[in-house]
Subunit: 216 residues, 2 copies
Amino acid sequence: MDMYDGILTTRAIRRFTDEPVTEEEVMACIRAAVQGPSGGNIQPWQFLVVTDPETKATLGDIYRRSYERYEAALLPLVPPFKREEDQASWNRTIAASRHLAEHLGEAPMLVLALMPAISMTLTDAEGDLDVGTPYASVYPAVQNLMLAARSLGIGSTLTTVYRIRQDEVRELLAIPEGYEVVALVPLGRPAGKFGAARRRPPEAVTHWNRFGEKRR
Amino acid sequence: MDMYDGILTTRAIRRFTDEPVTEEEVMACIRAAVQGPSGGNIQPWQFLVVTDPETKATLGDIYRRSYERYEAALLPLVPPFKREEDQASWNRTIAASRHLAEHLGEAPMLVLALMPAISMTLTDAEGDLDVGTPYASVYPAVQNLMLAARSLGIGSTLTTVYRIRQDEVRELLAIPEGYEVVALVPLGRPAGKFGAARRRPPEAVTHWNRFGEKRR
């Protein structure tokens, strides 16, 4: 698969076929994940692969109950869209998200990305140094995992909604308190198609030399 | 370029040739960036491309002064490595990071990723909902940008050290207070080679069905 085309056509996949994802395939995805960048090369990631049907089903139930609270709280805050096509696109996303919430436990494989609580505090005579967030050292790896999956024909989506019930996730999977669950990524062959997701055009979010300078 | 190989061989590039990066190339990278995922498809990103030599030089000076404080605070905290090859690898990384700090302003192009201060607070009758960090909605886009660059033969590295002097960066580039600068990414043709960076093996960071379950 061509790399540039593959990146452009990696969209959230929320409906999967029953075809299994193999251990070799997920390890290839994690191999790509760990090539992601991290501050000082600390590699602050662990991956937990859930394949056991009963565990997947329980995790799916936790996810569904999380999603229900999320959607009920979110929808009243979203104003109607001005353009009909934007409204239709949003409606499709919500429908797909609901489908995922109701069927997450049936996805062929679930991968959780974990990050230990790491102190990034540096101090000198002038005070504490802001060197950024540890999340900068883990979400690129998650993106690598999803892109590698794409290159193997495997769809995925980055979810964080389970965090509403993170304690239940932690207990189910024996995740120590010292680890934060930063993403839950279902993997499976797309029931639909890969393709470019709707986005604002890059020109609309690009500035040249000074913020607000749009032409060049 | 093959997608999977490209992901595996995208490593931090900190030394660049003088060959320019074109406007078309950086726009192709930003086009890939905006295809990254974001919670509720909010697309919370702006990109600021710095090409003006004087602005690059000033930004390079800010970066160098930030890096000096960073390195002076960091190095005393890093214990010696047990394995000679790990120590040698770390030494090479520090040397390359110093080189970048001294020459950032000479990189063919600098791209800053910005994120508006967004409220992700959702509440229901039971209280606030933790639906994750907004950084989950921007660092995947930054990774896409760097991978798209790789597919074009352009090297990059994700830096956050400038945050030590973020106010100076903000003033130089007229970045409004409401935006956080989440990454500074230099772009240019590698003076060295692309290739797989040293990482712990994926098996060492993978668990099966329960945390700590290493075999399967």
